[in-house]
Symmetry: C2
Subunit: 357 residues, 2 copies
């Protein structure tokens, strides 16, 4: 484990993105989104992914000179073709336009095709809440989750994020993958030698498993809800919702055809769309109720939930976005711990491109 400042990681990431052909502007945009994940404690979506992005570039599956553009529109709604670029660049471009449409029409909604992995969904949604609007961001992702009653990888961990401005130190950010757990949680359990509960994963026959190595044996992640009797169909349809909004609506690939993040997995034949898909939204608050009134009630909502009766007096109740905000404040001061495996990956990239940390 080594500790780096956000600036160090961001500078390094900028150099890596420039080395694979991004403009300085695009490299800075991409690095900022990436390191926001490390700051917020979502280490699986930060600089640990740099190696993967470079791998996709090497495989000819990312266009680092991409010029995303609006290809279709109807007032508050529009479609962006990401030109095969980094989602880390395409999504910020599309979100800027989404915010403009919200200023003009009260709300703005963008479906994005022909893109790639866009980092953490929350970061894009928060571009709206920073401007005192409501923000929405979703993406589809590498198929790793079966629908209820199936053993086939048909859906990704397909996250959705909704960000609401508050008068507190942090915005209220609801950001969740629609699988029961992230892969990262499995990796942590493995490192720490812990057992995993029934409901996180299924084996290659689609049956619930507690084998921590099951993903290497053809197993898959369970949808949110975990087990049929606990409502796994609800996680399945939420992942499906994200798949439809991000890809069926945009013209991207959906279901089993979503291009995998890892470059060594081949694309399926007969792709129904282009790249992977995102869906972004922004709503001005004033059309619903006065903005300051809304924010005062968001604060009241937060206070009510923070002071709800606890199960254990010592275990605080958290509101959405609070844990990530606390982590960010802590890591801004004390730096970002990066595990040895990721440090090695970064060193290898540094060596290849002649960059030092």
């Amino acid at each position: 484990m080594s500790v780096f400042s956000a600036n160090q990681l961001q500078g390094f990431a900028i150099s890596v993105f420039e080395s694979i052909g991004c403009s300085s502007k695009d490299a800075a945009t991409a690095a900022a989104v990436l390191v926001s994940a490390d700051l917020r404690g979502i280490d699986s979506h930060g600089v640990s992914r740099l190696k993967g992005y470079v791998g996709l570039y090497d495989a000819g599956r990312i266009n680092t000179k991409a010029m995303p553009k609006i290809v279709r529109e109807n007032k508050s709604t529009f479609n962006v073709d990401g030109d095969g670029g980094l989602g880390l660049v395409v999504a910020p471009f599309a979100m800027q336009e989404t915010l403009k449409r919200a200023e003009t029409y009260g709300s703005g909604w963008c479906a994005i095709q022909n893109s790639n992995h866009f980092g953490i969904a929350g970061e894009h949604a928060m571009q709206a809440s920073k401007r005192k609007m409501i923000g929405i961001a979703m993406t589809n992702a590498t198929p790793f989750v079966p629908p209820t009653f199936s053993k086939q990888a048909m859906l990704g961990t397909n996250p959705m994020a909704w960000a609401f401005p508050s008068g507190k130190k942090f915005d209220l950010v609801i950001d969740l993958a629609t699988a029961a757990v992230a892969r990262g949680k499995l990796e942590i359990a493995k490192r720490e030698g812990k057992d995993i509960p029934k409901g996180w994963v299924v084996d290659k026959d689609g049956l619930p498993s507690t084998d921590i190595d099951v993903l290497e044996k053809g197993g898959l992640l369970s949808p949110l809800g975990s087990l049929e009797e606990l409502g796994s169909h609800k996680g399945y349809v939420l992942a499906g919702l994200v798949d439809i909004l991000t890809a069926v609506l945009s013209g991207a690939n959906y279901g089993p055809w979503v291009p995998p993040f890892v470059p060594y997995l081949p694309l399926l034949p007969n792709l129904p769309g282009s790249g992977l898909g995102h869906f972004l939204g922004a709503m001005e608050i004033d059309g619903f109720r006065p903005k300051e009134e809304f924010i005062a009630h968001i604060d009241n909502w937060i206070d009510a939930f923070k002071s709800a009766e606890r199960i254990n007096a010592d275990q605080e109740i958290f509101v959405p976005g609070e844990i990530e905000y606390n982590m960010e404040e802590e890591r801004k001061v004390n730096g970002i711990p990066v595990n040895n495996k990721v440090v090695q990956d970064l060193e290898a990239l540094g060596k290849r491109f002649g960059i030092s940390m």
Copy 2:
């Protein structure tokens, strides 16, 4: 168990709503929404609720002469004051305006305050998919779910529905409560003498319970995800999302202050808003991609999921809205079974108002 035709139930419901003061038009609207639940197999939200609506009327908590109106707007976004009316009437009024805004601005979004229970969310969302738009409907509801780490009822089963037009016999309708299970499932398990799995409910101390009578002993429903280790915080924040969009955004009551559906439970003091809240949306598809192309890909998505590899060859995989459609087709032909307890309730209402089935 008795069996009635949809027309019988609808005619009876119309007479009941007229008896408590609704206009013929409002009574017909309310009855149609109610019976759509019975037809789709969501018996807990159909005529079994008539007694409850009448109870709320008796308690002075429903205004059957309500005139819902738009009280604030900004192009694609607006706020409706439900005037304390039946959600079954207020939501259809608001959805009509939402669809008009979508026609004008590409999308329409409505937050509704000062309303009451609106039936099944899917029925409102489907008003958009019937017109080849995307429809969204959410509502908050009687507090019955604690946030993770809390033992207090802070959230309802807060459902969300998203409806997408298809070229198949049925639209793709994602309609889920954000609790692990509906109360109705507990009642069915009890009637059938079945055990319930750990994860459906918690006891009065907030701990997972398998006691089928736990709700009568101060227990609560678990959020989707069921247990802390299986991601109950995701169900909590999804229920929170619905609470914020439907109530914090509209000016309705939220969190523990949501007015309970049962008339014998009192309202909390210091209400932060009016009535309960809904959130509705509609999006035209053409701004994203040509409508016919979208529908062709929705059909392809459905075909892909229906033919995904099965765990058991005999267990079909369902897509969202399919089971409810199949039920509706079956019940249109064979009638709607109504259990004896509900029949007694309907008979009592019939006696009181001089209506025969």
